[in-house]
């Protein structure tokens, strides 16, 4: 058979066979293969994207965490400061209260002492008066053993009353 002249029979079969090959491979081979390839590429791209996103999110979280920690630290400082203030205030108040209480106590004690003192002095006065009366009685009893003396005393007393 001639090498350089295409044989019509071969052309006939080749058109039919290659047509069938094109049809069957397109439908049953290339479609699933290409779609599988595309799906895989897309899923890989998606996975990479989501990984990148996750990385960014983690970075964001980290930043947020740091911010939160910093805020917490500031708040802590504020709280501590406030606590110190409150403590000092409480101590001061307590001191003040204690002082006032003490003063009150002291005052009371002083008043009591005063009262006691007054009472004691009065008591002493009373006793002194009684003693004086007693002594005067005894003296008078002794002196007024005789009438002259009695007269003299009465006169003297009368004189004193006059003076007053």
């Amino acid at each position: 058979m001639g090498l350089f002249i295409p044989n019509p029979g071969t052309i006939f079969w080749m058109v039919i066979i290659f047509g069938i090959v094109l049809f069957i491979l397109k439908k049953f081979a290339w479609k699933p293969i290409l779609s599988a390839l595309k799906d895989r590429e897309e899923s890989i791209a998606k996975a990479l994207n989501s990984a990148e996103q996750a990385r960014k999110e983690v970075e964001g979280l980290k930043e947020g965490n740091e911010k939160i920690i910093a805020e917490a630290r500031i708040e802590k400082d504020i709280i501590i400061k406030e606590a110190i203030n409150i403590k000092e205030k409480i101590i001061d108040e307590a001191k003040e209260k204690a002082r006032l209480e003490t003063e009150k106590n002291i005052e009371q004690a002083r008043q009591q002492i005063q009262a006691e003192k007054t009472a004691a002095v009065n008591d002493i006065k009373k006793q002194v008066a009684e003693l004086s009366v007693m002594i005067a009685e005894k003296v008078i009893k002794k002196e007024l053993g005789n009438n002259g003396e009695q007269e003299k005393l009465v006169n003297g007393l009368v004189d004193d009353i006059k003076l007053n």
Binding site: M1, G2, L3, F4, I5, P6, N7, P8, G9, T10, I11, F12, W13, M14, V15, I17, F18, I20, V21, L22, I24, L25, K26, F28, A29, W30, K31, P32, I33, L34, A36, L37, D39, R40, S43
Partner: protein, 381 residues
């Protein structure tokens, strides 16, 4: 990197199998031809009228199409696979009243006898073709001949392999959805991705390439599988399919057809009314003629390139093998034995070169087809 490694591994495995087949086939090849030569020598010694080993005929017979698939000859005994002959004759009265004939090629006894008024011609005009005979037994012309010749049988075999490979790959792809590829899928996916990314996307563009992908992939793997099968000289391989001009013509016509169908307004405008000075278009439409001839030339070049490359590869291998018999018939058996290591070495070298050429030609045919599709679908640039 990891993917490439696995690919290389699978490739090496395939290459090993291929080399073993190659080695076997060369062993097969040599005694086959040697028998041929010896036959001639013995005849020569006896009659001295028979020609010595005809290298030209040997080579041409090996690359030509045939009605049966020759495997080996032992002396006068030819072993070959008979193939169906399908004929339609316009003169049914010459063939027992029937116009349509289907029979096996073994009925011709390797071209030695006629059958039902048909004959494999030995005349100069119809050499090797089936001709009709008139009542006196003289050749009157060719019937319509759609026989399953060696080439067509080779195409069928390659299609079986093509289907087997890619339906398996497709099944793998379906089963492995969302998982890592496995098996045959691993071997072919990188090639498919290469065709998509380096050929289709580059030549046609991101937007349009998808609808040409099935055609380009089918084209590439059809050519590649047939190129490789042509290198293995054991049936059902070894038919010179891509080195047959009818086959490459149909492939080129398909590319031409797809280009023409998908040609957009811009493509046709570039052909019939390109942006050149008016005097190149009127009164003689010089540029349109040049452009139109380009449209015809493109598929023609595709056809000739693939055909010539594959044919030449097959021929050179056969020539190197036939060197043994040329030397034998010229200088005796010893010279034939002496030259055989050299010719086997050269044959192996050329076969390995042909492996490379098989890849390159499949690639080039696909790339150029993609470029033509790209031209047909491109917008203003």
């Amino acid at each position: 990197m990891w993917h490439l490694k696995i690919w290389m591994k699978t490739m090496l495995k395939t290459a090993k199998v291929f080399l073993i087949i190659l080695a076997l086939s060369i062993v097969n090849f040599v005694p086959l031809g040697a028998q041929h030569a010896n036959e001639h020598i013995s005849e020569e010694q006896e009659t001295h009228t028979e020609e010595s080993f005809n290298a030209g005929k040997f080579v041409i017979d090996h690359v030509s199409d045939a009605y049966d698939w020759h495997i080996a000859s032992f002396g006068d005994k030819h072993i070959s696979i008979p193939l169906p002959i399908i004929l339609y004759s316009k003169n049914p009265d010459l063939h027992n009243g029937k116009g349509f004939h289907v029979f096996m090629s073994s009925k011709f006894h390797h071209g030695h006898s006629d059958y039902k008024g048909f004959r494999i011609s030995h005349s100069e005009e119809f050499e090797g073709k089936i001709v009709e005979l008139d009542a006196q037994g003289s050749e009157i012309g060719k019937p319509i001949d759609i026989s399953i010749t060696k080439t067509v049988a080779g195409i069928f075999a390659s299609v079986v392999i093509l289907f087997w490979i890619f339906l398996t790959v497709a099944r793998n792809a379906k089963n492995n959805k969302g998982k890592a590829p496995s098996g045959l899928q691993n071997l072919f996916e990188p090639i498919i991705i290469f065709i998509r990314d380096e050929i289709a996307k580059e030549a046609i563009g991101e937007k349009e390439h998808e609808r040409f992908m099935p055609f380009l992939l089918s084209l590439f793997f059809f050519i590649l599988v047939n190129n490789f099968m042509g290198l293995i000289p054991i049936p059902p391989f070894g038919a010179n399919v891509t080195g047959n001009i009818a086959v490459t013509m149909v492939l080129a016509l398909f590319t031409f057809g797809v280009t023409t169908i998908s040609g957009n307004k811009h493509y046709w405008k570039e052909i019939y009314n390109p942006d050149v000075p008016w005097w190149l278009k009127f009164p003689i439409p010089l540029m349109p003629i040049v452009e139109l001839s380009g449209v015809i030339t493109k598929p023609f070049v595709l056809m000739v390139r693939l055909y010539a490359n594959m044919l030449a590869g097959h021929m050179i291998v056969t020539v190197f093998v036939s060197l043994i018999f040329i030397f034998t018939s010229l200088m005796g058996t010893a010279a034939g034995f002496g030259i055989s290591p050299v010719s086997v070495a050269f044959s192996v070298f050329i076969l390995l070169l042909d492996v490379l050429v098989s890849f390159i030609q499949a690639y080039v045919f696909t790339l150029l087809s993609a470029l033509y599709f790209g031209m047909a679908t491109s917008e203003h640039h």
